[in-house]
Symmetry: C2
Subunit: 90 residues, 2 copies
Amino acid sequence: MTTVIGLVAAFLSTISFLPQAIKVVTTKKTDGISLVMYAIFTMGVLLWALYGFMTMQLPVIIANVITLVFAVIILFYTWQNVMKEKRRTK
Amino acid sequence: MTTVIGLVAAFLSTISFLPQAIKVVTTKKTDGISLVMYAIFTMGVLLWALYGFMTMQLPVIIANVITLVFAVIILFYTWQNVMKEKRRTK
């Protein structure tokens, strides 16, 4: 039972970033999104993936590599819009 | 070394939600934020906290209870704005 809860938790917390990645790619809107959050979060997920490699835990590697892909997409679009906004207000 | 990487990963992926929570509370802006993401993510984090209790892993409990607080704040503001938008466009 515990393992099932852990797997479902890992699945939900990983897949949850897919709708956010789709939303920023399709709408290009990132107004409310915190660039600082995704910068820190991406580093955290990168370290989780590294931790998974070092401890040879495949679920940790897979979950965090997938989350990393979504996080980088969201980070890229958010960063792009922040840069545009800065150039506009110079 | 591995433990340190795991702890830093846990710290970063937990604390990363703080700037997003602060941003939605101060700006009330949630345009780019995916309501679906935070609904799924909040369930995932809730299950992670439950997993931590069931396996008596204090770091898992602490990290996910903290993340849960931030996620619920972000989810609440995003949901509130989505409801406002729906009423406005009726």
